[in-house]
Structure formats: C-alpha cells, structure tokens
C-alpha cells in the first residue's frame, strides 16, 4: 500500500518508497489503472526501453483524455516498483497526469510472463480491463526493467463522465432494439442498418486482408528461394560481381520494390472490393487514381535505380524468374501487356476499341525504335572494346582512350531504360484516359492479378520437388485453375 499526498513531489516520494512489485492476477477486474513508467538512465535499460513496444489501447486513451481530476490514492490494489529512479519519465506536475509504461516481459526477468502494455492518462480511469498482465517477478535493482504501477481506486462517481466505446455499444444493445418491428422507431432502425453495413464492411475488409496476407506469404516464399539461389549463384560464379556483392543502389531498389508490391496488393484489394461493392463512380475513380499514382511512384523508383545501377534493372533480378522471361528493357512490354489484358476487357465501345488499337500500334512502333537504338548501342560498344585491345594490342594509350569512349557509350544505356519506363508510364496513363472508370478499375486489377499469378508460378516452379513433380504439379495447377476461375468469375 502506498499513500501519496496530493501535491507531494513524486521524486521525493520515489526516494522514500522503494518497494517491490507485486503482480496482479489476470482476471482481476481493474476499474482503474495508474501506470507509471520509469526510465532508467542505465544505457542497457534504455536499449531495452527502445526495443520494447508501446501498445496503445485507443479506447482507453480516448476515455482517459476525458478525465481531468487528480489522483486519489485509495486504491485497493496497488503494485509497487523498485528500480533506480534516476530519471522519471513523467511531467513535473504535483501529480503525474500522464504516464507511459512500456514493458515487455522477456526471458531476462525471472519468472516474468508476458508483456503488459498500456498508455494511460490520469489516475481516474473507468475502463474495462485493458491491461491484461503484469510481470510478477520481483525486480531486483540490478535488472533494468520497467515496472508497472497500477492504482486501482474505484471511481464510481466518475462513471458518467466517461464513456468507453464498447460501453456505448452495449448501451445500444440494451436499448429497445427488438427486431420484431413493433418497438422499432426510425432512429433504431437506422442504427441497425448502419450496424449491418458496418458488419458487412468489416467482413469485406477482413477478406481483403486475408487475401493480402496470402499473397504476401507467397511472395515471401519466393523471395527466400530467390535469395537462396542468388547466394548459391554468387558462390558458383565467383566473378567480380559476386565478390563485390550486390550494389547498394540495387539492394535499395529491391527493398523499395518489395515494399511497393505490398502496397500494390492493398490497392488491388481496394479495387476488388470497390468493384464488388458497386461503388459510386466518383469513389471508384478515387481508388483508380490512387492506383495510377502508385504506378507513377514505381517509375520514379526505377528512375533512381537506373541512375544508381542500370544493369541491375536490366538483369531483372529484382523480379521473379517468370516475369524476367517476359522482360523488355527492364520492365514489361506495353504492347504485349495490352494484348494479354484486352480479351478480358469486354465490353468496349467502338471508339474505345479504335483508340486501344492505335495505342497498341504506336507502342509497337516505339518499342521497335527503342530496341533498334539499343541494338546499335551494343554494336558500337562491342566495336569500341574490340578495336581497343585487339587492334592496337600493346598500345595502352589507345586502349584507355577506347575504354573512355566505351564508358561514355554506356551512359546511354541509362537513357534507354528511362525512355522505356516513360513509355510504360505513358501507356498506363493513356489507357486510363481511354477507359471508363469501371473499366479502368478492372484493367488495373487484371494487371495486378496477372503479375501475381506470374510470381506465384515462379515460386511454385522454384519449390517443386523433382521426384513427385508430376503429382504435385497437377494438384497445384488445379489450385491455380480454381483460383483463376474464381477471380475471373468475380468480374
């Protein structure tokens, strides 16, 4: 038990009262919590402090924000803490109004179980059990752990002042919501409808989240396999590239690309949900615009990567093996993409068909031009290097001169990759202009799912066991087939 006089300085109190922690049983109903956080000045403790997570219970925090009064220290259950309070992480008010407690139980402390994480404000809280468990170990002064202090004074008088969200939900449930229609008034009926809507939305969200998780899992597997392969390849080749390892620009781009893919999955599920929910055109349009902006971001990332390490972009090691097969100058071939997606885009008006036809033709012409330009670059580069050391042999000056020219030539590779990316970006924007909002949503969704399938195919291919290849492949292909059917039918 501890008592603290109003107005007493916390530090002096701390100095006077050094006691151990007593644990709380989990199931004890806690009407009120007061949590102190003590931050040790010991560097190792600070490290632990930094590593530990802070979980905020939003409901509690909101409700706590409504509390104003000071602390009454007549709690039934109180725990104490002991440590070296060399620095208190609390406001220098007579009574601490806001405390942050961060603790994670770990194997260090003897007998500690799980973490107890809470962020509370003020002592007078009327909230449901939000902080579950505390470490029950006696914390010795050596251990640089953070202690929890909870003041569990009952605050019956403050009940009305403070409404946690779940309480308000319960109050709705208690009120007259008989669904037989007799006691339903307009307000209640509307509330019920809103609840239904909310429930439906949360079901959709959950579904989208699960899908996102699954795709992330597949991608993770594929990434791990790629990593394994890259490592083994690096060892087997043993060339100068492998010795130097992957360049920093390349690894940065790989990381950014992975992050981009994750976000892209979110946009895809938004698109999916938006199409299924038959949103207003305006709202669906917002989602589509976000999707396009996200693609623009990718091209920005690729531009940076092209300046840093253009050959990494060209090799395509940042994407999956099957995607790599279809790669053209560091990315997708626009005319090819249009060809693949268009059959799934019916119905289209005639003027749209014409515009898309023209787009396909111009893409092909532009691709041809860039390919030929790149071809000429290769030829002149090869000539330069060859004449440099074959023709003149021992003439070092000429050799160096040719090498310098070749270096200049190589800079052009970057501009070709940039042009190809700009072409891709412009193609996507042009499709957005040609299609209606709904069609554009389907277009981007189809693109995203097509590439997800390619990536899934890559990871399946990589993980196939050689002996039972046929059996497994058949069953996996059936799964993919089902997935495709399901996805196509959802259009």
């Amino acid at each position: 038990m501890f008592t603290m006089m109003q107005g007493e300085d916390v530090e002096s109190w701390m100095a006077n009262h050094r006691v151990g922690v007593t644990g709380f049983p989990d199931s004890a109903p806690l009407n009120q919590l007061l949590v102190y956080g003590i931050q040790d000045s010991n560097p190792s403790a600070t490290d632990i402090f930094d590593q530990q997570e802070v979980a905020c219970f939003d409901e509690l925090e909101e409700s706590l924000l409504q509390e104003v009064s000071g602390l009454r220290s007549d709690g039934d259950r109180q725990s104490f803490f002991s440590s070296k309070p060399s620095r208190l992480d609390i406001l220098p008010s007579p009574w601490p109004m806001r405390f942050e407690k961060i603790q994670r139980g770990n194997s260090q402390s003897a007998g500690s179980t799980d973490s107890c994480l809470a962020k509370t404000i003020g002592p007078k809280l009327e909230s449901e059990p939000l902080v579950s468990r505390y470490t029950s170990s006696e914390q010795s002064t050596d251990q640089q752990q953070h202690k929890v202090m909870a003041n569990n004074a009952s605050m019956a008088g403050e009940a009305t002042n403070h409404q946690p969200r779940h309480q308000s939900k319960r109050s709705i449930a208690d009120s007259d919501t008989r669904k037989d229609g007799k006691l339903l008034d307009a307000k209640t009926f509307r509330r019920l409808a809103q609840n239904r809507e909310a429930a439906k939305k949360s079901r959709l969200r959950k579904k989208a989240y699960v899908q996102q998780l699954e795709s992330s899992r597949v991608r993770l597997q594929q990434l791990e396999l790629d990593l394994q392969r890259a490592r083994s390849q690096g060892i087997s080749f043993g060339g100068c590239d492998a010795v130097k390892g992957i360049s920093s620009g390349a690894s940065t781009f790989d990381m950014e690309h992975a992050r981009w893919l994750d976000e892209n999955n979110k946009h895809l599920s938004d698109l999916r949900a938006g199409l299924q929910a038959h949103l207003l055109e305006r709202n669906l349009g917002l989602i589509v615009d976000r999707c396009i902006l996200h693609y623009d971001k990718l091209f920005g990332l690729k531009a940076v990567a092209a300046k840093a390490d253009v050959f990494h972009l060209l090799t395509g090691m940042w994407s999956s093996p099957v995607e790599r097969r279809f790669m053209w100058i560091g990315g997708f071939r626009p005319s090819e993409l249009l060809q693949i997606i268009m059959p799934h885009m019916d119905p289209l008006r005639e003027h749209q068909l014409m515009a898309i036809c023209n787009l396909q033709q111009s893409s092909q012409q532009a691709e041809e031009a860039l390919s030929q330009g790149l071809e000429q670059l290769h030829q002149s580069l090869a000539e330069m290097v060859a004449t440099g050391f074959i023709g003149e042999g021992s003439n070092v000056g000429n050799y160096m001169g040719n090498m310098a020219m070749a270096l200049d030539k190589l800079e052009n590779v970057e501009s070709f990759v940039l042009q190809a990316d700009r072409m891709r970006q412009e193609t996507l924007h042009q499709m957005r202009r040609i299609l209606t909002i709904r069609q554009a949503a389907r277009f981007f969704l189809t693109i995203g799912e097509y590439y997800s399938c390619l990536r899934a195919l890559s990871s399946l291919w990589a993980s196939r066991p050689q002996e039972s290849f046929i059996n497994n492949t058949v069953s996996e292909l059936q799964d993919i087939h089902q997935l495709q059917q399901h996805q196509l039918s959802s259009f």
Binding site: L374, R422, T427
Partner: protein, 124 residues
C-alpha cells in the same frame, strides 16, 4: 530520309546569323526535321521510329556541321535543358516537339500522328 548540310554559298551570308535563327529557319523548311548526332544511338532510335511510321524526316547531323556546336547550344536553350543538349530534337511543321521523351510521349498519347498529318508528312 534526307541528310542535309546547309549549302556553302549561304555560309558567308549567314556567318553572323544567330544560331537560333538558323535552327528555326532549317526547322521550318521541311515537314519533319530532326537535329541529331551521327554517333548517338537515341538519334538512331528516333530515325527508326519515323521510318517505321512511313515518315521521311530531314536530318541534320550537327557533328558534321561546322556550326554544329552553336546550334546544339541554341537547341539546348530552346528545349529548356541545362547543360548538354538532349539530342535528338524534333520539329514538326516548323513547331518544336522536343527531345526523345516528348516524341515518345506524344506518340503514345496519340498526338503525334495528327501532328504529322497536319504537317503533310503522313498520309493515311
């Protein structure tokens, strides 16, 4: 496509001409004008693009022109580039289209073909 170099007898008269003026004069003489460098691969790409569309541009290789350097600088100012001029630079119907990225972008968004038709470089 035709490769042109400005006729010699103009040289004395035009020796004090502003390179910018020269550029604009050359650009307005043909339907499609490309200022390029013979060694540049991107210039090769733009030439192939026009040939692929059935257009015959007039090409000025600035590295073979005695006043090429000045014209390059003038072009850089026109295009708005700081530093080395981004050749190739394309003019259609006397109007500046821009460097390779502008040409590609206008081709993809469908504005290049109407421009060519208007200038009389392309017939359907």
């Amino acid at each position: 496509m035709q490769y042109e170099s400005a006729p010699e007898y103009w040289y004395v008269r035009q020796s004090r001409a502003d390179p910018l003026e020269r550029v604009e004069r050359l650009a307005s003489e043909s339907a499609v004008v490309v200022f390029s460098l013979s060694t540049c691969c991107m210039c090769h790409a733009v030439k192939r693009l026009f040939c692929g569309m059935g257009v015959h541009p007039t090409v000025y290789e600035l590295d073979e022109d005695p006043r090429g350097r000045d014209m390059e600088r003038a072009l850089a100012r026109l295009v708005g580039a700081a530093g080395p001029p981004p050749l190739p630079v394309v003019f259609i119907g006397g109007k500046l289209v821009g460097a390779m990225d502008m040409v590609m972008a206008s081709h993809i968004n469908g504005t290049l073909v109407p421009l060519l038709k208007e200038a009389g470089a392309l017939w359907l």
